[in-house]
């Protein structure tokens, strides 16, 4: 059986890569995908700890996270489409309407 700590380390690595993607990329779609990856890394933590403590609460929480992620993607991609229709770009540097 693989120790739980290994899963936690893997999850941390995936989360860090996702964070890097959010911070470094300028394409709004790739930023969005990186956010999804971070959510998944956290899900992995929940599931690993659910096994560690032999409790189901973690897995239920992952289910909730999945629901939230699905709703988030639907709304977020609608926003992306609206921005693209409005400004014709996927580069977030060009989306600065609220900048002072």
């Amino acid at each position: 059986m693989v120790p739980t700590s290994y899963y936690l380390i893997l999850s941390a690595i995936l989360f860090a890569i996702g964070t890097l993607g959010v911070l470094l990329r300028r394409n709004v779609l790739i930023i969005f995908m990186s956010v999804e990856m971070m959510l998944n890394a956290v899900n992995l933590t929940f599931v690993a700890l659910a096994r560690q403590f032999v409790q189901l609460n973690g897995q239920i929480f992952v289910l909730m996270v999945m629901v939230v992620a699905a709703a988030e993607v639907a709304v977020g991609l609608a926003i992306v489409m609206a921005v693209i229709r409005h400004k014709d770009t996927t580069n977030i540097e060009d989306v600065n309407l609220l900048k002072g």
Binding site: L14, I17, M33, R51, L56, N57, A69, T90
Partner: protein, 170 residues
């Protein structure tokens, strides 16, 4: 342990692929691979229902939604796919080579896990199958977590209405 190393390596390299790919369509496909490896990990962690839900929700719905948008706005074009007389070497750009290697690794890992029985949840741990099965999840979800479960349906409704309103063309 071998399985974990294979899946972890595939997951990490796929994650890096998401971040560094030039084209969003490659990112979306690497994301799919990442989600698939995580589903395999859920099986190793005795969360069978979540593994299935991961494949259906993430790989089936979310990535497809991403691909729809990528195809819709452009940047999803695979230029050389129509050029029939291109040499094989010219077609093998680095994302394709990576995808080939990673996909093969995933298949090998899954095959190894199935043949040796490591991906069957009842082995090794006596409490195993009770933990993440559909029965256990359903029992908890419809008793202890009934109110949050019902509230998620409201959340989904709000998300749906929001998406329709935002995407409306007027």
């Amino acid at each position: 342990m071998f399985l974990f190393i294979v899946f972890a390596a595939v997951a990490i390299v796929a994650a890096i692929g998401v971040v560094v790919s030039r084209r969003p369509v490659y990112s979306a496909l690497f994301l799919l691979l990442n989600f698939a490896t995580l589903a395999a990990m859920y099986i190793m962690l005795q969360a069978q229902f979540l593994a299935v839900a991961q494949v259906i929700v993430y790989a089936g719905a979310i990535v497809v939604l991403f691909l729809f948008v990528v195809m819709l706005i452009g940047g999803g074009e695979l230029n050389d796919i129509r050029q029939r007389n291109l040499a094989l070497g010219a077609r093998l750009t680095w994302p394709r080579v990576m995808a080939l290697i990673l996909g093969l690794l995933l298949v090998i890992g899954l095959g190894y896990g199935i043949v040796t029985g490591q991906l069957y949840p009842t082995q090794g741990d006596a409490t195993a199958f009770g933990l993440g099965s559909v029965e256990a999840i359903g029992q908890t979800l419809y008793t202890d977590y009934l109110l949050p479960f019902e509230l998620t349906s409201v959340l989904l409704l709000v998300g749906m209405v929001g998406a329709v309103v935002l995407a409306r063309n007027d």
